[in-house]
Symmetry: C2
Subunit: 321 residues, 2 copies
Amino acid sequence: MSDYPKFVHISEEGPREGFQIEKGPIPTDEKIRLINSLSNTGLKHIQICSFVNPKRVPGMADAAAVADGIIVNPKIEYSALWFNERGLKQAMAFQHLSVDLKITLYASEHFLISNLNRDFKQHQEKTRELIKFCLEKNIPVTRAGINAAFGCNFEGDVSAENLVQAVDSTLSLAEEFELNIESFSLADSMAWATPLSIKRGVGAVKDKYPDMPIRLHLHNTRGMGIANAYAGLEMGVDRFDSSIAGLGGCPFAKHQGAAGNVSTEDLAFMCSEMGIETGLDLDALIRASNVATKVVGHDTPACVSKGGSLEAIRQRLDVTP
Amino acid sequence: MSDYPKFVHISEEGPREGFQIEKGPIPTDEKIRLINSLSNTGLKHIQICSFVNPKRVPGMADAAAVADGIIVNPKIEYSALWFNERGLKQAMAFQHLSVDLKITLYASEHFLISNLNRDFKQHQEKTRELIKFCLEKNIPVTRAGINAAFGCNFEGDVSAENLVQAVDSTLSLAEEFELNIESFSLADSMAWATPLSIKRGVGAVKDKYPDMPIRLHLHNTRGMGIANAYAGLEMGVDRFDSSIAGLGGCPFAKHQGAAGNVSTEDLAFMCSEMGIETGLDLDALIRASNVATKVVGHDTPACVSKGGSLEAIRQRLDVTP
């Protein structure tokens, strides 16, 4: 039990994950209201939008207006998602957006084709071009990751061996350019992971790259989100992406009406109750979650925001654990 | 990873947990429809109703009609919840209801008072009377358990030490009557548990009583249900209560609109994907979950029923893990 990390870094992706999949249209002001609310929770990193093709992701058509409209908390790193030079240039137009390149390969070629309309080889080539472009512009390239790291609706299961191969390819690409990769993200983009496959996959990657910090990006489509995060904690993983109120999902993953990403407040609650620091204010997260639920206009899957924190009960009872 | 049990026994409590808390009224026929659907899923034990005071639990006023109306699958043990001789006699009126006594003590006296209007001493005395009554009638007394085993909205946290004391008291009571207790249930009645407190609590009980099989009854009010079940599996727990579609909650626990019990289909999915047998048909559980959602007339919190099984995708893709 002593292997849990002492501090866990939680990066918020609710605005980006959520608004890309919501039917909408959601007014730009409402999106900004949620991001401003999230800026008062202790979060140090918030991904606020995607600069992508608005024909493919209509919910992100107002990305520039969202980026322009938020109240910037100087303690927070705000970022945007983008896949190509055009998107990168749009993000760079905003001084308050942190811009760096994450080298992202895919464990599933079919998902890559569905998501970005490229095969493995084309994607590697595009990624090389992007790395070159970023290095020329002095844009940091210090992160890397694998999408569909544990399984894929278009290809099936991803074994730990295949996952390690995908990590190898990604790090080889980084080596070509003599890049120093500071953390490596494993994304369960289509919710195939279980605690067991998290342990196997993370374990296999850590066996080969013991000094590489691993980040987990987890979806809750099949209810495994928090259990998978817990399995990650047991493997010493100390950084997670999550989504306020459990907003999100993947627009190309062919789910219908399913739960979204692992929820920020449930993850923060678990950490806090287990004595792991996150720097987050759970009450403020619950308030932001309530804002999120109002903004999207329907019930959201996160639980602590409805069930209430235990700290609130302890305070009322005047007891400490 | 080899400590997981090979087979996990899942007992269904959705009809009882769900209908006791739903605002209703839900027609008796609809309750029966759900139970009949559950009877075709491979479940071996279904708790179908409570024989309790209908003034306190109006959703159980038709318990006898429900018990009378179901199509009995002879492979299934059907049971009912009851707290006193009157309830027991009502249950005994149905030949197809399995009747035994579970000795249940409480880790929290305040919860006991709220739930049954008795203090510790009065409850022990009532339990003694009930044990005597059952033994006279040749009713088996082979199970025991603790409610509010990990924490309580009326008292706060329950430490592993206090949990073990409650287990001690329960087993002393069993010893008074020379009873052979075959399994011991720990109920997280108000969703205070985290994977860490599950490991600590179950670990402490197992340290003192290494040969006693432990059952976990988990609620998902704060989103920890499946993660707590996973922590239980890691501790070798091989029997769980759960609730189809995640129906349920506790009518006296002072939650509002929160998620209910850990869901049967999500738990069965996790076990199956981790190579643990349950004897359950996940597709049939998803069908029963859809029935449950229709019967209660609102969205239910379970995930796999909305996200879909992975086996269905593997079959479509014609791949095996």
